[in-house]
């Protein structure tokens, strides 16, 4: 039985040593090179006394960062990807939670880590990867590793303003990759075009099937996602046939009219998720690629990646929602109503997940973890955790699960999961902001921030840019004399979201 994700790489690298594993269009690494670099890094870190602890990989998005992930796993530690574009304030918060003893960097990020005043071990990728692998040492580490040991931590938006680190183990990822690969039909001929950043679980969909099958992943430069014709040219140049993208990346291509000029001719598998796909845009895609298979995916980071899928098998009219379908094999969905009983046909309930896919919870946040990883309320006989997603869903007449809405103020913006309260907490930290309320316009996919206080909108934006990732920066700012309140004295979110806004300053 497979216990470690590296067994994928160890089966593939000797079989296809010269084949390109990860490439960005300019530079790439073969399976042989990935394997050599990863074993070097694993040896390097282990020789420095690190074991079963978080190692931060703070590098620009590059095939080498993927090799660094696997290197950390070889050392018996777990990797924590940090984005080079993340504001330092946020990186600092993450470091406070992790207290990492080792950070892997590259030449573009070294200075940023030094500026944090980080005093632990700061190692350059090139030096670590060049280390001579000590196979005996690596074998000894592997022998002691369990499939329930952590593999990675990824950080997601937290409503209190502190990002939460979701810890996932090998077994959950192996389960996910096996089910996802079977569902989407990945194989050795798959050429992935990766869109999502490496610091989220979304990239698992490409990285692990690539080493499992000996496929190839192109890490598409982010700048191409601004210019749709250039992006499609890139897909064609590299014969990319499979994409698992956020909806906004797909609608950017169709919405700006690129499919009228050029079509990604090799693309046969298109998975999308985490957001509602506007049907008009979706139909433009289906018309452009009538032979391709389209699959809607759904799942929270806390259940490792995606939990449910729906292969589009019929036409949808504008305004209809594409279902999220049914769970992957070996994943269970419970739709629980307010009485904690199973929701009846057509009744809305909270989507709860059980199975091997459940992650281990939030790193160093036991209270937060206990809030949403809870005992299955339908089982009083033995311990069994479920994850309460906070997503509301219902079954349609065909028995397919459909996403309805959120229970709280979490939104999906440009494919990213964002807690509106985290934006408010950051804005309120500005000395001249008295109160702030973030609202989301789902139709236009834009975040608006209303605030009261002496600061100019430009100042608040500049302040937020130092603290929040790019995708959390409000697209619109409005300064008000005071924020409207409900009869209970709370900020009236509903009024603001509905555009019932008192006069500005």
């Amino acid at each position: 039985m497979q216990r470690n994700v590296l067994e994928y790489l160890e089966a593939t690298a000797p079989r296809l040593p010269e084949k390109v594993a990860f490439h960005n269009g300019t530079e790439g690494l073969t399976f042989g090179q990935v394997s050599r670099a990863a074993r070097g890094i694993g040896t390097f870190l282990a020789e420095r006394g690190l074991e079963r602890e978080p190692v931060v990989v703070f590098m620009e998005k590059h095939p080498k960062s993927v090799a660094a992930f696997f290197g950390v796993v070889y050392s018996g530690c777990f990797y924590v990807p940090i984005d080079e574009e993340m504001p330092l304030y946020r990186v600092e918060l993450i470091f406070q939670t992790l207290k990492p003893r080792a950070v892997l960097c590259d030449e573009t990020t070294r200075k940023a880590v030094e500026d944090l005043g980080y005093t632990g071990g700061l190692y350059g990728y090139e030096e670590a990867a060049a280390c001579q692998p000590d196979q005996e040492l690596l074998d000894r580490i592997r022998g002691a590793q369990l499939d329930t040991d952590p593999l990675y931590i990824v950080f997601t938006s937290g409503s209190t303003g502190v990002p939460k680190g979701v810890v996932a183990c090998h077994r959950s990822v192996i389960d996910y990759i096996e089910q996802l690969s079977a569902t989407l039909g990945f194989n050795e001929d798959t050429v992935f075009g990766n869109q999502t950043p490496l610091y989220f679980d979304a990239c698992l969909k490409e990285l692990y099937p690539t080493i499992k099958f000996g496929a190839t992943t192109y890490l598409i430069p982010k700048s191409l996602f601004l210019f749709p014709v250039k992006l499609v040219d890139y897909l064609n140049e590299h014969k990319i046939n499979t994409v698992c993208w956020v909806v906004s990346a797909l609608t950017m291509i169709s919405g700006l009219g690129a499919l009228k000029k050029t079509v990604p001719q090799y693309l046969h598998t298109i998975a999308f998720g985490s957001e509602v796909f506007p049907i008009r845009q979706f139909n433009l895609w289906r018309e452009a690629l009538p032979q391709a298979r389209f699959t809607n995916l759904y799942g929270p980071t806390e259940a490792t990646g995606m939990s449910c899928f729906y292969h589009v098998d019929r036409d949808f009219a504008e305004g209809e929602a594409i279902p999220i379908g049914r769970p992957f094999p070996n994943t269970g969905i419970l739709l629980l109503n307010e009485k904690n009983q199973l929701a009846g046909p057509g009744e809305t309930g909270e989507i709860c997940i059980r199975g091997t896919c459940l992650t281990m919870g939030y790193y160093r946040m036991p209270e937060k973890t206990a809030e949403c990883f809870v005992q299955n309320p339908l089982n009083d006989a033995y311990p069994e955790l479920i994850y309460r997603t906070g997503d509301l869903g219902r079954y349609n007449d065909r028995g397919e699960l459909v996403f309805v809405s959120r229970k709280d103020y979490q939104i999906k913006h440009m494919g990213h999961r964002v807690e509106l309260q985290e934006i408010e907490a950051a804005a309120s930290a500005h000395p001249s902001v008295a109160a702030a309320c973030a609202v989301f316009d789902k139709e236009k996919d834009r975040i608006g921030l209303y605030y009261a206080g002496g600061a100019e909108p430009g100042e608040v934006t500049a302040f937020l840019k130092e603290r929040l990732p790019r995708y959390m920066i409000p697209n619109r700012m409005e300064r008000l004399e005071r924020l409207p309140l409900t009869p209970n004295g709370k900020i009236d979110r509903k009024a603001l979201a509905a555009g019932q806004v008192p006069a500005g300053v």
Partner: protein
């Protein structure tokens, strides 16, 4: 030009669009901004921006954007 500058300022109040000529190079504009700009340019100036005009060169500065709008308006 003034209408275009006010569209841009609405998106990024903290940027000086009269001088900045690295809107793409310095990652000031993101994909949502591009989509918004294309829509707002369309309704404000009554021109359709075709996909092949979406290039880094045309979006790197307010001046380049304005030249594109004028070109499309004439054509």
């Amino acid at each position: 030009m003034e209408e275009l500058l006010s569209i841009l300022r609405e998106l990024h109040p903290e940027v000086d669009f009269e001088t900045c000529d690295t809107l793409i190079d310095d990652k000031i504009l993101d994909s949502i901004d591009i989509v918004t700009l294309v829509a707002e340019i369309g309704s404000e100036f009554d021109v359709e921006v075709p996909a092949e005009e979406l290039t880094p060169e045309n979006f790197n500065s307010a001046k380049a954007l304005w030249e594109m709008v004028r070109r499309l308006d004439e054509g």
